[in-house]
Symmetry: D2
Subunit: 381 residues, 4 copies
């Protein structure tokens, strides 16, 4: 039987949407189990969550510092921590665990400032620790297929990227009814709501599929959907890539009629690839002079490396949990190998890491900066 | 912490497609864990599977009889068994466990003959044991929503049902290349391949949503797709329901270009509901005089009871694993309550049971009978 | 400049839906112009229609007999008549014109009885007159492409045909509000409403694409949608073709949420073709082992003969008028050539003729007969 | 019988794609007929075209000047001219006819420079002549419905507009094979190819539906798809409207897999409306808190004024010809009324006029200017 990793969680208590998704993902392939946590700033809640999840009372902690310290001291201490608290709290928690030699999985966006992200990246490197950032959408077989098609030249040289992530959940001024989602609160979200939450998913998914690097960008952010919202709920970003290709990203939380259809379209000199998160098992592909095709994960015409991410045959839909499961299968697999003292290949490390996280934070900051300065073009690096 | 049920498996060894789906489903909500198994007719394979899954060597068995006997004798014996061997083997295994007082989950179709199914139904009732049949497609939030809409009269009285389950995996004569899928082998499948495998899903899903009972049916089965195939690969079934409504079911394994899109359309006097398994998170609904709508699970306009089956918000896709997880959550929940000595309500028992399984077997037999007799109308009961 | 044909109309007065469609179709390519008419049983209405359309008063007639007689007597008499009165009136009108040597275009279904249709077919043949029946749906470039693909073996041997034509316009009991559409009145429609109006479109489109001949059929007709409707509004028809293939046709006028999506799916041993009338410019094609494709008329991968029916490039939609225009372009072209004394090839005659019309009437009668006798199988011929 | 208008054409000879579309559109409702033309710079071609279309030899002219002069002198001279020569030639022709008191329909874009467009606008106003610019896409019932919904506040205040027009026909470097489409030649197209041809359709359709006025814009144009193409084939345009709303327009001719799907999405505070030119008979509408709906032209839930543009019932598709027919029905109707000396209301003038044409030319120039200056923001007026 395979060894099983031990992990703890910071954030993600009962009632947290993303907390249970991380737990299911991390344990889906029985490579890891939850043994410790500081699930909430409210310790009572941490205790309740821990009890409900069957954890030992002594491994429930008041805060990330206590947890990092004590887990690092245990012989059966956690191998890694999953951080899924609100954005502002990521940095301090991640730092605490890294400093004590504990590997980290952190929710996106990685941190609130670029400097924090840079510091974490440096720290992880110095300590030789694995650090993943949970841009999990892209862990679908069809996204991998898209990446492989680009890498293999199936659509030629990329010229244009169109990507969007429209949602409608902030279309109504919910704040007036007393509901203030933490994402619209600068103290918890940082300098951006919409770009920080979902614009960064666009950036990551496009970068993962295409490998394109952003040279400069021009962004227009708006705080639509309510009176005096302090943060953006809609953003348009024009992008020039170093290769000469151009991109157009749109994210919105006031797009009535849309739930979560992150959609990426890649236009090359020989063909086009399109993927949508709400229908993640298919890929629309058009080659020059041929009719557009609808590819399905699991079919033999997929690249084998893409089908490895498919757990079920074509036509048996896989979704959001399975994307997280794939993300964690990659991370857990790499960590298990690392613990055995083996060298990790780039294939082992095929998950968004702390540098992807840093790039995401930079993207948020460049967008905000561009918009504040009148939507001028700003250099990415 | 909640009590956790113990289950064993008959069939579903390493390499089995459906075996891992059952395991993931049964354990998804941490209400049950696998402790025993007779995973294959080949004991070496059972041993390998058990070792890989971390089971005690002593709880790996040569056959279902040995397993039923010894597990029944243990104090920590299994609460229930999951049977996912080929069709022909269901009956003997189920009987063995029922006779020893062990609850059963069995894959579909329940048995090869109607008599066997009737016997199991009677036995389960006599023993007071829970018996579920894993028609799991229908455990999606959107299917529950469809059922509730019908029950609440949202589409009026049902007049017409159109349902289809086209697949293409047997379009090529794979047998000639030496591959003989067990489903095309009468010794393992029984009297039908296509109706038995997927036609029965249509029957179950329609019955679950509509509550309609079949009065008589007229079926045409064909063995397309290869020379001298002994069993059907395509079937058309006209149905008259007791209510006066009519139905039209089509299932096929030679429909090139189709993976698994089980699709059900219910036409009532006030509206229409449509659901497709490949895009299971949405429901197309049209009301008289209004534009068709696309409903999404997780949205507030769903019935609360349907949204309880949604584990994620609108736009975060859930798929096949989650359908199985819902099936097992219902079964595990009922069994946990039963073990506490509590009375089970019809709501607790909202999963396909042995009578649904029996009805499915009858459906298969009536279709084959009709077709053999020249596609004449035959009474269902 | 090309010669221009002269035509007259029986039926199709102001306010008639199909009348103006025939007129636009017949004149779309400036090969023919309207010069005479008996547009209504109500002569005042004929006069109004004629005046509005700028016809000579003397060429407006009280009935088809007067019109046939006088037009036949004129030197500049009509070359052909378009008959688009209600079904029951087709036969007598068509006969009157044929007997006087005037070519005929008749709306579908051709006649109310099989005998009438046979008589017209014989008469047209004896007289050597062109006789078209306006099954115009099938005159789209994408339908022609489908036909050519079948003929060229692109999808192998056909095994299964699925075709449907659901509409919702009779879902409400409109008769109770005093509106009695002529189609639901046996005196005007004949023995069938739904099969006669739209089932026959299915029969024709399938026959045109596939060339398959029906051996026998089994039909179930229902008069849903109102109390005591005298004619069918919903029909399921199982079909056995002479080739051994099977078909399943469904037509309905009580399918809420559907307008006119006649949909035909052809399943062969090598591939599948699908077409839908509401989105007529595209064709879904799946080949064995390949991803499904979406073909568009006007693109170079279409057969040239199919693209000849496209008047606009890919992406510029063509619809119902253009289908009728293609139907009439074929008919007018053949007639112009015939008038020049040239031999007509089968390519010239690529439009539904009186034999297609006869086959359609037979289909209606066989369906009604089967249903009345308890939905038994009846021979087609 | 109604009077019939007489029109002539400049450009649009045999072989011209758009020429025959204009002719069909102008005559579709029998309100006008073609009597004169200067169809080509090559007089032989004009003669051939004229002969083929049955025109009098004496009304076929060498150039627009000759035609304007002689037609103005005839008693039965043309009421209006349709100009559908390449872009660069519009101005001189339009001016020639306006100066002689002849009404004008001109293809888009109106002229090559803003000054020319302003001059034509002024001239048309001074002379009191009707001047339409054939942005015909927007003349569909569903586009009218969208406009009426916006005007009636059905989707609240507009916040975001997303619009795109991707095509793939210039993806391959066709110039290298000796084919140089006139659109890629600056001498014929003016300063822009892609924005000029299809970007301007976006601008017009959005303006027509929303009434929003552009305050400033920021554009990035690229000449993708071939070596050293002199003009743009891809453009991204960010737009700030005077109302505070933002827009994002994308047009491309190198988007492989796309034919003509001009798509406009309008996001308001209460709902969203979406329309696509390739499927022009439907409109996707989502209201806050409700499931998205698919509206169909012809249905009773459409505004009556929108359904007036539908010539056929729901489910009978209308396309590109019918859009042009609607455009010309409006223009011809206004001109007939004008000729009777009646006052024209704004409803009579519900077609894109010379000011819409001028706005389109400005849009092209602002985009090119912004892009040339480094994609900076430029004021629209």
């Amino acid at each position: 039987m395979v060894d099983v990793l031990r992990f703890g969680m910071v954030g993600g208590g009962l009632g947290s949407y993303i907390g249970q998704v991380h737990r299911k993902g991390a344990t889906f392939d029985e490579q890891a189990r939850l043994v410790a946590g500081s699930f909430s700033r409210d310790f009572q809640r941490t205790l309740q969550t821990g009890q409900r999840l069957g954890l030992d009372r002594e491994r429930l902690y008041r805060d990330h510092n206590e947890m990092a310290e004590q887990e690092a001291a245990r012989e059966d201490g956690i191998d890694y921590v999953i951080i899924c608290s609100p954005n502002y709290a990521h940095y301090a928690a991640a730092k605490a665990f890294l400093e004590r030699g504990i590997h980290v999985v952190c929710d996106k966006p990685l941190t609130v400032t670029v400097e924090e992200a840079e510091e974490l990246a440096q720290l992880a490197q110095e300590k030789g620790l694995l650090f993943a950032v949970s841009y999990a959408y892209a862990q679908c077989p069809a996204v991998k297929q898209a990446q492989l098609m680009v890498q293999n030249g199936d659509i030629g040289e990329i010229q244009v990227v169109m990507a969007e992530y429209p949602m409608g959940w902030l279309a109504a001024p919910v704040e007036q009814e007393g509901e203030v989602p933490w994402r619209t609160d600068p103290k918890q979200s940082g300098i951006s709501n919409c770009v920080g939450d979902i614009g960064t998913h666009i950036e990551n998914t496009v970068a993962y599929i295409t490998g394109l690097e952003i040279e400069e960008l021009c962004a227009r952010l708006d705080n639509f959907g309510g009176d005096n919202r302090p943060l953006d709920t809609n953003a348009h970003v024009l992008v020039k890539y170093k290769s000469g290709a151009v991109g157009n990203y749109w994210c919105s939380q006031v797009a009535i009629g849309y739930d979560n259809p992150l959609k990426v379209r890649i236009f090359g000199t020989k063909g086009t690839i399109e993927w949508c998160q709400e229908f993640p098992n298919h890929l629309r592909v058009a080659k020059l002079g041929q009719p557009p095709q609808m590819l399905a994960k699991g079919q033999e015409y997929f690249y084998p490396q893409a089908n490895e991410l498919a757990r079920l045959g074509a036509g048996h839909p896989e979704g959001y949990y399975e994307a997280f499961a794939n993300f964690y299968r990659a991370f857990n697999g790499a960590l298990l190998k690392h613990k055995q003292g083996l060298e990790l290949t780039s294939e082992d490390l095929d998950f968004p890491d702390v540098f992807a996280g840093l790039r995401g934070v930079k993207f948020i900051h460049r967008c905000v900066e561009s918009s504040k300065r009148g939507s001028v073009w700003v250099k990415f690096d």
